[in-house]
């Protein structure tokens, strides 16, 4: 009996440590380099000032600008999202090879936090306290970045262009150093909600959303636009439980004809596959975060394969309604042409998908901000540069940036997935985050990509 108990205990210990590995198990992308320092030495920039380059701030030397980030390179959030930092690196490599920022090269050091906030706290301190980075750039994830936002602000480290649409980054009085970048989930919910209310009049609407700040911000925006009488069921999921059958069954039982989903890619795929299994085929309306057709199609095929079925990803994503704030993946778009050129030169092993575009576009915005911050910028110079507004660059709508508003892009277009590509429907819509704020058509024109691929200072 004694021995048996001991054996059982050790078996449980063994099983649970094995489980720890499965949880930490890696699924990461392939990418050429972790830091971007390749390329020829830049010739002097065409800037009018000829003041000598100095080490004007921590992380800035006469020849380099070192920035850091925390990214999920392994773990549950890695599929898709792990492509973002290598894409940004590819853009920085391009800039470095073409003169850099006032002649300085950008060194981008991103560390893996595996989407675990405790690890985020540790790696960001390593970047700030030991590696002396100038700024934290595009730190990815809501729960992860929340673990460091107060630390970065108390250390007065610029915390720019967080890779999350949480409204929590727009608190200029509490967090003056922190800026969002992508479309926040409240605005996104409003834009999707208005489309649903207008195009599915009299239909029964169901919600499917992640049970955290991401999903709840999205629902807040949806509720601002969709009359409560149309909504028949609201179902949430937690990202640690992959069985969404109860939620899907509830949506089906409520007779939902349209399901609006604020979900990460893996759970959009689970929603679609579980619906198929239950013979339920509502019109899907999915947040941009969980609707990249290439990522989603790949996940659908992979999940179906695990269950012993063979599906066509493009067929299953066909007709999904979503939105987009990045330039369309179309060969006629000047940004597509530019990004594809950089992709083929520096990051060709990665798929040319929405995640790649994201990494490119956010890196472009950073270079814009650095150029505006001046030849020998302090950390405060970068903050005031962004506070005085940035040109929209590759984005389809303007940024909200001002001293009193740290939200990123303010609008998006509605798109429908057709044969694996998001096709824009109608014009770009812009709005604010208030419940009553109107949604209007954006009248300004989109910017064209500069021929050099580098923004002008």
């Amino acid at each position: 009996m004694n021995r048996r108990h001991r054996f059982r205990l050790s078996a449980v210990v063994a099983v649970s440590t094995a489980a720890a590995f499965t949880l930490a198990a890696c699924s990461s992308s392939s990418s050429p380099s972790a830091t971007g320092t390749t390329g020829a030495t830049g010739t002097a920039s065409a800037g009018s000032s000829t003041a000598p380059l100095t080490a004007s701030a921590p992380g800035i030397t006469a020849t380099t600008i070192t920035i850091g980030s925390h990214q999920p390179l392994t773990g549950p959030a890695a599929p898709g999202y792990s492509e973002i930092a290598p894409a940004s690196t590819a853009y920085f490599d391009w800039v470095n090879a073409n003169g850099g920022v006032y002649g300085r090269k950008i060194v981008y050091k991103y560390l893996n936090d595996a989407y675990d906030p405790t690890t985020t706290a540790s790696v960001v301190r390593q970047l700030v306290l030991q590696d002396n980075v100038y700024a934290i750039f595009n730190g990815l994830g809501t729960p992860t970045h929340l673990a460091v936002v107060s630390f970065l602000n108390s250390e007065k480290v610029p915390d720019v262009f967080v890779a999350s649409g949480c409204e929590c980054w727009d608190e200029p009085t509490t967090y003056p150093e922190t800026f969002g970048w992508q479309l926040d989930y409240v605005r996104e919910g409003k834009i999707l909600g208005q489309y649903v209310a207008q195009h599915f009049k009299g239909k029964k609407i169901g919600y499917f959303y992640q049970d955290d700040e991401f999903g709840m911000d999205g629902v807040k925006g949806l509720d601002d636009e969709i009359p409560a009488s149309m909504v028949v069921s609201k179902q949430s999921y937690v990202d640690t439980n992959t069985n969404v059958a109860p939620q899907v069954a509830a949506l089906r039982a409520a007779g939902a004809q349209v399901v609006v989903s604020f979900s990460i890619p893996a759970f959009t795929a689970l929603l679609k596959l579980t619906s198929l299994k239950l013979g339920f085929s509502p019109q899907l309306v999915v947040s941009d975060v969980g609707a990249d057709p290439i990522t989603l199609g790949g996940l659908l095929e992979a999940f179906a394969k695990q269950a012993g079925a063979k599906v066509n990803g493009n067929q299953l994503t066909q007709g999904i309604i979503t939105d987009g704030y990045l330039p369309a993946l179309s060969t006629s778009d000047s940004w597509y042409v530019l990004f594809k050129k950089i992709h083929d030169q520096y990051d060709a092993k990665e798929p040319l998908d929405g995640n790649f575009f994201y990494g490119m576009a956010v890196a472009y915005t950073f270079v814009q901000a650095m150029l505006k911050a001046g030849r020998n910028p302090t950390r405060a110079d970068l903050i005031s540069a962004i506070n005085s507004g940035l040109p929209q660059g590759p984005m389809v709508a303007p940024f909200a940036y001002s001293a009193g508003d740290h939200d990123g892009v303010t609008g998006a277009y509605i798109g429908v997935i057709n044969n694996g590509v998001v096709v824009q429907q109608g014009s770009v819509l812009v709005t604010d985050t208030s419940a009553t704020g109107a949604i209007t058509t954006y009248t300004g024109s989109e910017q064209q990509a500069p021929a050099s691929g580098i923004p002008s200072p």
Binding site: K109, P117, S122, A147, S150
Partner: protein, 348 residues
């Protein structure tokens, strides 16, 4: 049986404290932060290693107790603005109460059933923060304000102060635990672990011994959670995932179940190996797909090697090495269950 005496343990604690103080001044701010990380980790792992190694119970839910300690500390500091030491003690008391409740259930469960129940606790409890966002701040959690005291001057680095506070709390906890483990309470735990029927026949209240072990272990986790809260300046549900609970167990197993020095070795490994491995990986210019997986791989390889070479963990391995050199006389140092229980557990 050669039992360490209180003065001897005190001497060890003072030596470690001096080393920590020296290192914290010599090393950079990030290393100070890592010292603080090791401090909270070792506090939690020590509690768990006592529970699993001495009392024979398993917990996959210690992250939940850390959450209780963390949130208790954050709420006290936020609303009452009491000094940290008071918040720490209250957090420990609150977690002890929670541990007692869970311990009552745990005393009736064994092996996989206990693992399952504590697993459920570990997964479910942090979600309470989502249910009451007004109190617990939901996903965003609560900010914890922890600053250096005025007498150290304005330029004293915060991370060094965190390292000092963390190390002090961890050392005091370890000292108290060590005394407890070698007292009658600890001997009863070992007796219950080895054979609960024999222990009961010897007059030990088996259920009470198990509940006590759970309370002690949960209290340690609560103290660790309190430290984690002030070290990262935040409590949020995302920090107390199942991964945390399992990492604690891994550290306990790697270090050597039931051994307090082992808890320190395990914690050092868990905290330092990933950073070191990723430094090596990036400095050698490995591609990020390889580089980002190296820490995970290194962690796995070390776990396998330690378990192969020292089935009883690092501390078990060290003991074997010492025994090899010092001869068989010293082997009695191992904390083994003594077959005779002259002292009787108090009635309840």
């Amino acid at each position: 049986m050669i039992v360490s005496t209180l003065p001897r343990r005190l001497a060890v604690v003072i030596v470690v404290a001096v080393i920590v103080a020296f290192l914290s001044i010599k090393l950079n701010a990030f290393r100070d932060y890592q010292i603080a990380e090791v401090a909270y980790e070792v506090t939690a792992v020590a509690g768990l290693t006592v529970l699993t190694g001495l009392s024979g119970q398993i917990s996959l839910g210690h992250g939940a107790f850390m959450a209780i300690g963390g949130y208790a500390t954050a709420l006290i500091l936020l609303h009452l603005n009491w000094p940290f030491i008071v918040a720490l003690l209250i957090a420990a008391a609150v977690t002890a109460a929670a541990g007692a409740v869970v311990g009552v259930a745990a005393a009736r469960l064994r092996g996989p059933y206990l693992a399952g129940a504590t697993l459920m606790l570990g997964v479910a409890l942090p979600a309470v923060a989502y249910a009451y966002p007004a109190t617990f701040g939901g996903d965003q959690g609560l900010n914890v304000v922890f600053t250096t005291p005025a007498f150290l001057g304005a330029n004293f680095p915060l991370t060094r102060w965190q390292a000092w506070v963390g190390a002090a709390v961890a050392l005091v906890t370890l000292l108290l635990l060590a005394n407890l483990c070698y007292s009658r309470v600890g001997r009863n735990w070992r007796a219950v672990r080895d054979d609960d029927v024999a222990a009961a026949l010897d007059g030990i209240n088996v259920a009470l011994a198990r509940i006590r072990a759970f309370v002690v272990s949960a209290t340690c986790a609560g103290i660790a959670g309190s430290l984690l809260a002030v070290i990262t300046a935040l409590v949020a549900p995302g920090a107390y995932t199942l991964t945390l609970s399992i990492a604690l167990l891994t550290a306990a197993v790697i270090g050597g179940l039931g051994s307090l020095p082992g808890a320190l070795w395990g914690s050092l490994l868990i905290i330092l190996v990933p950073t070191y491995a990723s430094d090596v990986a990036t400095s050698h210019g490995l591609s990020s797909s390889v580089g980002s997986n190296i820490p995970v791989a290194a962690y796995g390889v070390i776990l396998i090697l330690v378990m192969l070479a020292f089935p009883q963990g690092i501390q078990g391995g060290l003991r074997r090495l010492v025994a090899l050199f010092a001869g068989p006389m010293n082997r009695e140092n191992e904390p083994v269950a003594t077959p005779e229980h002259s002292e009787k557990e108090g009635s309840s």
